[in-house]
Amino acid sequence: MTQSPEPAQFDAPPRAEAARMIEAMLFASAEPLGTAEMARRLPEGTDLVGAIEDLRAQYQGRGIELCRVGDAWAFRTAPDLGHLLERHTIETRKLSRAATETLAIIAYHQPCTRAEIEEIRGVSVSRGTIDQLVEMGWVRLGRRKMTPGRPVTFVVTEAFLDHFGLSSARDLPGLRELRAAGLLENRPPPQAGGQEDEGEAQDSLFGD
């Protein structure tokens, strides 16, 4: 029971050994492992970033790939081999059009309030739609917006990134083009008294 590896007392492992260790940890987990969690389990001073880089290169073009998911990493089968694999996960519920659109709006506009979703879709968003996305683990509450009423915002989760094979929300397909076209701006309708210069983009998440 009291078997303790006390990694700290060892020297930091060479990069090849660190890569082995990370490989073993990632293989054991179905969920992406955060870099912080990995660092906690590895000997102190391990070159985590370098070892992950090595590992990723080693798996380039293989049947499995090392994928970055937000701040975490996971091994995933190569997308072109899906046909060989059994589908354990039967798609439980096909997402409604309202749900997929809402999801896309949250992903591309995050952090995004319910009012913003409604404005973009031109219809009210039913509670169930957002609930469903939250239940699937793809959407969670973000920070409240610093606007009157301090409305809650929604953001996409790491599980969302993982599910759609995205390293970060910045990798969303067509994001750059949409932004260049000004389609991710929150443009208020023209009002009496002229344009308010409120076209402040809400790309705080994609900013850097």
Partner: protein, 263 residues
């Protein structure tokens, strides 16, 4: 006989209806006025950026009018949109009021075009997103998960204060023990009464009450004291019952008892 014409008219109506229904039957399928506008705009067969908002407004108003003729109940927001588009149409057709503070028809039209384009973009984004290789469908996670074993170990701690307090608690436990009589050295009145009752029958002569103490209650002072008190109390009880007599010649002298013979 104008039957033929009636049939013609009826047929035309059916045709009209069918045309109208192409969109209207599906009114439930639209997700609101904006969605409907987007669908209508496609009939212009141009890039959304070049769509004519004026033409679109007219198409929408025609649609709503048809729905009204067919007695189809449209949700309120469709009617609100219709009213707004009618307003927009008039704005676009009339020359702008130079001293007006209102937003121009062009601005309003541009915003509507933006909304349509944005909705269209989000729809395409949703489609692109859903078409990505997806976990559990195209891409798979590790099947044989090796669970991380969590070893919980506890480090116990105690401070010097805890230690001293514990010792103090142990050492002073006796001092706080609730007071309990030690019954080994106590004779109760009941015990003495039982004993005396069985003995007084033979006590025809005066005898020292101390002579009635049990064998092993004579020596130890604590026991002797207890036995004496109990026996004396018992003798008083028996005297009260009229079974014995008690006498004492003077204070602190011997107390003697004897059997009282009943008359």
């Amino acid at each position: 006989m104008d039957g033929g014409r009636d049939i013609e008219a009826a047929r035309a109506t059916v045709e009209e209806r069918r045309n109208a229904e192409a969109l209207i039957v599906d009114v439930e399928g639209f997700e609101g006025p904006l969605d409907l506008l987007l669908v209508l705009s496609r009939s212009q067969k141009v890039d959304l950026r070049q769509v004519s908002i004026l033409a679109l407004a007219e198409q929408y108003l025609v649609f709503v009018e048809r729905a009204r003729l067919l007695r189809i109940e449209l949700a309120a927001d469709y009617l609100v949109m219709a009213a707004w588009l009618a307003f927009l149409k008039s704005r676009l057709l009339l020359p702008p009021d130079p001293k007006g503070d209102e937003p121009s028809g062009e601005d309003l039209a541009a915003h509507l075009a933006f909304q349509l384009e944005r909705l269209q973009a989000m729809r395409e984004a949703a489609t692109a997103l859903m078409a990505r290789p997806r976990l559990g469908r195209d891409v798979f996670a590790r099947g044989a998960i090796e669970a991380v074993t969590v070893h919980r170990s506890a480090v116990h701690h105690a401070s010097l204060f805890d230690l001293m307090q514990a010792y103090a608690r142990v050492k002073t436990r006796d001092e706080f023990r609730p007071f309990v009589m030690d019954r080994r050295d106590l004779m109760t009145m009941e015990q003495a009464l039982d004993r005396l009752r069985s003995l007084v029958g033979d006590a025809a002569d005066w005898a020292d009450i101390l002579a009635y103490l049990p064998e092993d209650w004579h020596v130890a002072p604590k026991r002797r004291r207890s036995a004496t008190a109990a026996t004396f109390a018992a003798s008083l009880e028996l005297a009260k019952e009229g079974r014995i007599e008690i006498r004492q010649n003077e204070s602190f002298s011997r107390i003697e008892i004897r059997r009282k013979d009943r008359a």
